[in-house]
């Protein structure tokens, strides 16, 4: 079904499923390289906002549109996890 999820990726997948009330989706079902928006999980702008809030709460990382990386940050679970890991307060 997918490549192996690292522990951090699995934790992020869990956060996505919980914070967005994605009934019927298990964290393990999420392909780490698949798009989060448009296709793949088909998330929309409301999800982006809710996810940004959840990530701020869990990891203390505040997403910004201007951050160039943000364009690619939501491109996949793997990219999102990598961005958050790189930016969170230790």
């Amino acid at each position: 079904m997918n490549g192996n999820l690292s522990p951090e990726e699995r934790q992020m997948a869990q956060l996505i499923v919980e914070s967005l009330n994605l009934e019927g989706t298990s964290p393990d079902d999420i392909d780490p390289e698949a798009p989060l928006f448009g296709s793949g999980l088909s998330l929309d702008s409301i999800d982006a906002l809710e996810l940004a809030v959840a990530i701020a709460g869990r990891y203390g990382v505040h997403l910004k549109a201007e951050d160039e990386e943000t364009q690619r940050v939501f491109s996949s679970l793997r990219a999102l996890t990598r961005h958050v890991e790189a930016n969170k307060a230790s």
Binding site: E23, S42, S45, I46, A48, L49, H62, L63, A65
Partner: protein, 440 residues
């Protein structure tokens, strides 16, 4: 009877970009130059994303007496359908976002600020000029055209100035999270700076930290124009926010607790506004006090066959409201019932019957219903669906996504054997809910 296209002093700042300011004179100059590029007589479909570009485009068209058409949403399919229905239309854009559209004329909005318009040369616009046609999703599936004449736009803005932006000392700076293309954003970020003493930030910040940054970039008094979902996100993200003199919230009901929390944390006042595309802003209330709604000046409410009707001298026709209102003393009212068909999610208007009709139009879907599940956990108010089909759910959703805005995609969608219809084909809503509960 004519009146000026804008009523500010030439050196007044109307818009603030990240590193530039736009005065009234500069705005008029830009609009004048753009108006000279418009194909004469063509209706203008304005899909500019930036508020300044959008306003320049609007003013260019209005000054040339060419109506501005605003599509119900930014789906390429929706915009194409509007263009197809408007032969000879001119599309004005500022970001090349919809390259595949078939259109007679396509213009990129001018961003340059060179060339002042001399004082005294402000175009006069006839009260009866049709300026804007704002399309909204209708229950028939064909977008509804809401006609806005100059009289309505001008007088409506004056009325908004008497409530939404009143009672704040100093140069008001407006920061908005809403787009300029829908009525709420049109009134508060495009029309407002033309007639009221305020400045509008051209940014449309999205993430909470970005909203905070734009608010920080301007001095007090700040007015934040936003929606319940965005306000909740700001509070939940716990970003540091500067003091905001007033938060204006509209498009969906604002939970009283969120208004109270905002007033405790960063806002002097949260003003909730009630309105619709047909009427513009219609009433307001201080949500934190859970007080009844107060009509804005010049509006009146009557009842006809159990339906509330709003009217005002500046509206060209009375408007039947989708919600059921109960009048209290002094002309105030409470909203006792929201329309069963009209939805508003993230500021976007949809219709359950239209969504259901779209679902039923998909090949392979034998029956289906889109509805708002009772007692859902979801604050957003998302729709759900049940469908009778042999196709996989994902395929049906994908087909639906081509014609409806993403926020209206059913989540979740379940396949069922049949829907509980009566002998005459009517759906029994209690049975629908029971069937729904059985799926979960």
């Amino acid at each position: 009877m004519k009146s000026p296209l804008l009523e500010r002093s030439p050196e007044d700042i109307l818009f603030r970009g990240r590193d530039f300011e736009v005065t009234a004179a500069q705005l008029l100059g830009a609009a004048k130059r753009l108006s000279q590029l418009l194909p004469p007589g063509a209706a203008v479909v304005n899909v500019c994303q930036d508020r300044f570009d959008f306003t320049v485009s609007l003013l260019a068209a209005v000054s040339a007496n060419q109506p501005v058409l605003l599509p119900a949403n930014r789906h390429p399919a929706t915009v194409q359908a509007l263009l197809d229905a408007t032969p000879g239309a001119c599309l004005i854009h500022d970001d090349d976002a919809m390259p595949g559209l078939q259109v007679a004329h396509r213009i990129r909005a001018i961003s340059g600020l060179e060339g002042r318009c001399e004082a005294g040369a402000v175009p006069g616009i006839d009260d009866d000029q049709l300026c804007v046609v704002a399309f909204t999703s209708g229950s028939t599936g064909v977008p509804k055209a809401n006609l806005k004449y100059w009289r309505t736009l001008r007088a409506g803005t004056r009325v908004n100035g008497l409530r939404l932006f009143a009672g704040l000392a100093g140069d008001i700076k407006v920061v908005a999270t809403v787009p300029s293309q829908h009525m709420y954003g049109l009134e508060t970020t495009v029309l407002a700076p033309l007639f009221l003493p305020l400045q509008v930030c051209t940014a449309r910040p999205f993430y909470p930290s970005d909203v905070a940054a734009v608010l920080e970039s301007v001095d007090a008094p700040r007015v934040l124009v936003t929606t319940p979902i965005h306000l909740k996100a700001l509070l939940s993200a716990k970003v540091a926010l500067p003091r905001v003199a007033r938060v204006i919230s509209a498009t969906a009901p604002l939970p009283v607790e969120h208004a109270r929390e905002a007033e405790a944390v960063f806002a002097d006042e949260v003003l909730e506004v009630y309105g619709c595309t047909e009427t513009g802003c219609l009433a307001s209330r201080r949500c934190a006090l859970d007080e009844p709604w107060r009509l804005l000046p010049d509006f009146s409410l009557t009842e006809s066959n159990g339906v509330s009707v709003a009217s005002a001298p500046h509206l060209h026709e009375a408007v039947e409201l989708n919600d059921v209102l109960e009048r209290e003393a002094d002309g105030c009212f409470r909203i006792v019932g929201r329309s069963a068909d009209i939805l508003n999610i993230a500021g976007k208007r949809g219709s359950l019957s239209e969504l259901t009709m779209r679902l039923l139009s998909i090949p392979g879907v034998r029956d289906g219903i889109v509805f708002v599940p009772a007692g859902g956990r979801d604050d957003v108010g998302r729709v759900a669906a049940m469908v009778v089909t042999d196709r996989p759910v994902q395929a049906v959703i994908e087909e639906l996504s081509r014609v409806v805005d993403p926020v209206f995609l059913p989540r979740p969608m379940f396949i069922v054997d049949r829907l509980p219809r009566s002998e005459v084909g009517k759906l029994d809503h209690k049975a629908v809910n029971a069937l729904w509960m059985a799926q979960r």
